[in-house]
Symmetry: C2
Subunit: 149 residues, 2 copies
Amino acid sequence: MSLDPMKRALELAEEASLKNEVPVGAVITHNGEIIAEAHNTKEAEIQAIRHAEMIVIEKASQALGAWRLNECSLYVTLEPCLMCAGAIIQSRVGKVYFATKDPKGGAVASLYNFFDDERLNHQPIWDCGQYQEEASLLLKNFFKKKRQK
Amino acid sequence: MSLDPMKRALELAEEASLKNEVPVGAVITHNGEIIAEAHNTKEAEIQAIRHAEMIVIEKASQALGAWRLNECSLYVTLEPCLMCAGAIIQSRVGKVYFATKDPKGGAVASLYNFFDDERLNHQPIWDCGQYQEEASLLLKNFFKKKRQK
């Protein structure tokens, strides 16, 4: 793979931050290549549901012409929320990697453990922790600046 | 209100069925008027995340020019899944009514109880059961036909 996917997701999170969006970035890879990338566009689109994961899933489905993403890996800088973890299951994303946990809203390892729930019809493989400090610092600095305004 | 919103949601579910989409319909009301309506478009758009609730939230946010839907009520014919219940919380929808429960995937009263989770930053008021039989029959007939093909 030419580019480290989580590093690219971090760059996208930084881009979001510069546009006054909560800094979360996501990419999806297929056969080792990045096929979709996105960051939050909630403020720009005035849509609460335009999280990085939702947009990147949409783009990957478009790129592959399929709604099943079993052969794909999703890299995101923050632990997915309830909505995004649900969307990942709906889309059958094969593997999910996130950089830092979200103790207030995370649905994979914090508030809920959706990806390990065998009642649901898909359990993605998942892991976390790569670039944890960088992703966490980006979010902390963003909200610190917000509070100062 | 001129039109019963759940009855309209049922009509939309029927429309979906005719287009070979899982028959789920949804509407959003604001000040007693329907401001957005939708049904599943997963097959047509080749997108696993295009559930009726996701589309109707998007349309309502566009109609109001706001991502916060606290003053809105969402009517949907089937209990929201994890993704859609998460989206309802993200969008701060004030009230949610669904016709029939989804024992295999429902996140409000079946597998999970998201709307009663006080760790999350929004708890919609919710109720269910209106047109339960009609909504349930629509789904049963749809999947029965599918199996016969």
